[in-house]
Chain length 348, copies 4
């Protein structure tokens, strides 16, 4: 059996989560996220946010979380600004558009947006004398880490947030891989920073130790009144909501010592090992990711050699002779497998 | 702690399912329902359907399944015929409308629709000379069991199916509680019958032993080409799809001896005990349900007496002095708790 | 050629409008409602409203106006309360649902809603402990005159408005036939009253003298910022917006002496003649309409007799032997044709 | 008063149309496009199409026509391929997205798409093993003339059509300025060619002599059954449909000698004069348009000089010192005004 490095959701959940689900299995609880496990998980999330006024709801998956937040926050005639490589623009089968909202895709060299780009887009809209003939920007969506593993600095996030809030734009951060970002070398922001800077963001569980689940954090009177309606309307209200409460309690309890952080740290450390191995071998990396995804630029021959034992993911063509290839680690990646891979990289 | 009879999803999953999830937890599988567990579950479902050409996809919940099927099958200018008490018309926060489709709600005395009603609605539409000013009926949605626990006979289903297919209407059966229906006294149809009569239906797992999950069965070239797009667009494609494949394999393997059927039978038998107890005590039932939901008509005083130990659900006002109250059993209901309840009913 | 009484839009426009369009035809004006004719018409509408802060935009037709206002005012998870006989619920091919909003249809004996009904619907929603499982009421839609020609009293409108505004509901009045209502015997409210009581309403031109056009009046910061976006997004922004500005200027200039009112008065007066003729002949009227639509209850034989010379509209079955039949007058109806009809009614 | 060249819809309608509307004004006709004028106009359009099986419906404006056709032809999970400069992607306030459909925007150097680009987009989609995670291409939208006035050759249209129909894609041509294209120097296709090559297209009236109106031509059983529903649902069914029938009858009667063609020829000829004047003066044109829109590249100083007497439209920045400026002629442009402009261009 080959060893898979093609994504960060190829195993189930961390054993502690399986245990917690098993232990509580025959308890009786009311549904739809109103049970005591969800309440406890909400309290834990609010502690991480250092803000006990934020709203917290648990959804099953990332596309669901994205589209529910977008549709809940925007008015019908507004669109959402995103990097053209953003997940909502590329890999969600037009889910935002299916709720009526255009993705205003801005070109991005490295998968991220800057406050300057956002400002330019915003001002171009409002300076156009016939601006009502184009979609009104209503929200900025960024992924952190981005789809290529890059993170933002606190200063960059702050600049984006300040522009947004000075100009009536919502800021929403897709945190499907948030843990891997928070624990990455060079990351200088925290969950509390996001809670302070964003109108909505989520702490991704699916890719960081849970069976499934994203903890959406949000602010604002309108969202407090509406978000559960939006969840139900978009088919995202899990009948046995306790399953989400239990998982996020397990992942996030313990503050800075929580399981979520240690699992993410593990993955980032192993990814750094893989990056080092490629770099030592003289192989260029596509982008300087410090999170759990690494993108060496490989020849067909190098790919074939590694494919004998491993399953990475083809990410895209780099040039005539090279491809960009993704190696993902996760909370479940075994160190021995990474070490084996590194030895084989030496022999490329 | 009071004993809950207020719904059929207050516990987790049958222990066999927890075991199967635990046993496979650290295996590596690709995502989105393309793994081997899902393939195996699809094969098992097709056996129950006695039709190896049907499409099978696994979704997380009922509202999600309803809205995804409706939006996948209908054209933009079509609506879906439903009993006014149908789940899609009442308890889904306008999810079908959020995808653009009006629910054409027909009055229903007992929560069910008849072929005659459907025919009348259809012909009224097309006999109207300005029919393009009203929504075109494109689909019939029925719940089986209905929201009040009543089931259809095979003859009734056949009549509906024949009308639909003679007139270009899709037939979609919401089977959120399908197991409890199939095992009910007097039920004369099978999963294979549904597969033969419907364009789409689902085998509900959430309420019948699974942690979550609905197995959607569908036919037709368009659906085979499109349904996975529709799932993804509606945020319903579970990243770790294996979780659904494992659960439905456990529930449905074994043909007529499968766990799904035995769990449902258990619930129906205990519900019949409760009904008997009420009837012996001279208390009228709201409707003659033979499935896992029973609806005695109780005075406030009777309700207060039972509320000391039990949690049923208030269903609606019956008259000045009586309410309709729902008692739900499930795969997880303990016989001893039902026996205790029955003794207390004697003393009402 | 038979004389038509089957609707109020069977002729073109009042000659004064044709003249105004002809006179201005070769002038050069910028598009999309930003020209000076539209500005002038806006000022005239604001005078009728006795409020120079209201927004005014001109749309081509009624369904377009309804759906644009509804989608602009509601949040994605909200629905609109309407009488079940309301135009948006019956004759717009699911246009509100196509923008994602459920019509919350309340039964109505006479085509109108009462503040009491609205309050009951509102409180039922919020008293339901699982209210997020149903669509949140966000707006009340009423037609005035209603689809059957009945009008509201100022007291009734005030009661509805007060409930709405005390409970965060928008109030929207469909005025497709507003002129005929305002000029009807017994009408005790004015355009200024509507401007004061509603969040949005429109002054219907299509049925009252214009070639086409509805003047939508609205209030509120959000609507001022958004409504032109909503119009464009819904395909309702007429390139040569001047055509609407010219028409509404012609119709509404002159205050209480304006053409719009005199045309409506003419139609109402002729309708009253028809009603009198039926009543003298001992024929019951379905409802006590004082506007331009009259609904006698006729036998088949009576219908056949009148059908020799006239074209009324079949409205619905009344009982085994009688139908409800609609006779419409309009600004264009000729008195001599009504007199001929009345003579024939005598001979029924 | 300055002379406007900023768009092709700054006057009303050709006098012959005003006359026809006036002459028929007090006739009584049934509504919604079912009157005899519409029937006559349909027959005339079918003659131009050389195909008496095509469907023909008349809509009021271009955005409305675009979004109605797109939503009627696509399934919910499909998107529409367009040049990134296409009107639906830029200037319709997200109207296609508001009906749920993503615009799949392809980069275009000259505002047009090629069969090769479309093929590449299509194959990229289907070759992606996770294609259901992206919007399925369901239609190709092209504007002819494009937004910059360029036209396609018959060979180019044929290549696009053949690819589309070999691969299950609908082809839809936005003909808002179709007349100016058909009459342009070098145009080698006809309305009959479009009827043969496309699934839907429209003959734009608003910009070519009508007060308003677009004649949508379509094929296919589904469209014949559904398109009038789609029109009504999108608020596009004009109550007094006769207004559209009368206008298109006037414009298109007379075959190759019809008013529509002569009006367009007039505009194209005057535009060619303007282009010649610029070229003689040594001023570059942005693109080689032969239709009614010309785009000289002008310095600020040149713009200021012309702005003393004329109103062209700023189209975009060209480089640090030059802008692209649009001069539009139309059916209503006076030759004397063009001659005056040409003299002033000489003196730039």
């Amino acid at each position: 059996m080959k060893i898979r490095f093609d994504s960060d959701y190829i195993e189930g959940a961390h054993p502690a989560i399986i245990e917690a689900l098993t232990a509580s299995n025959l308890e009786q609880h009311i549904g739809y996220g109103c049970d005591e496990y969800c309440e406890r998980a909400r309290a834990i999330v609010r502690e991480h946010c250092n803000d006990n006024t934020v709203g917290v709801e648990f959804l099953v998956g990332g596309t669901q979380a994205n589209v529910t937040v977008i549709d809940a926050l925007l008015r019908s005639y507004q669109g959402v600004i995103s990097a053209d490589s953003g997940h909502i623009n590329v890999h969600e089968t037009g889910a935002p558009e299916a709720t009526g909202h255009k993705v205003i895709a801005l070109p991005s060299a490295d998968g991220r947006l800057s406050a300057r780009q956002i400002a330019e887009c915003y001002h171009n809209h409002w300076n156009d004398c016939s601006h009502e003939h184009t979609v009104q920007p209503g929200m900025v969506y960024i992924s952190c880490p981005a789809e290529n593993g890059l993170i933002y600095t606190k200063a960059e996030l702050t600049a984006i947030s300040e522009f947004c809030h000075a100009h009536g734009l919502h800021l929403f951060v897709d945190g499907a891989r948030l843990g891997y970002g928070l624990m990455a070398e060079g990351c200088d922001f925290t969950i509390a920073d996001l809670a302070s800077l964003c109108d909505a963001f989520y702490i991704g569980g699916t890719k960081v130790g849970a069976l499934f689940g994203e903890a959406v954090v949000f602010k604002g009177e309108e969202m407090h009144r509406s978000f559960r309606y939006a969840i139900k309307q978009h088919g995202g209200m899990l009948a046995k909501g306790r399953l989400l409460g239990i998982q996020f309690s397990e992942l996030l309890k313990g503050g800075s010592e929580c399981l979520y952080f240690s699992l993410a740290k593990h993955a980032d450390r192993l990814a750094a090992k893989i990056r080092s191995a490629f770099e030592k071998r003289g192989i260029r990396m596509w982008i300087p990711s410090t999170t759990n995804m690494q993108f060496p630029i490989l020849t067909k021959k190098q790919q074939e050699f590694l494919a004998e034992k491993y399953v990475p993911e083809f990410w895209g063509r780099y040039d005539e002779e090279h491809d960009i290839v993704r190696f993902c680690t996760s909370w479940a990646t075994k160190e021995e497998n990474v070490d084996a891979l590194c030895r084989d990289i030496e022999n490329l």
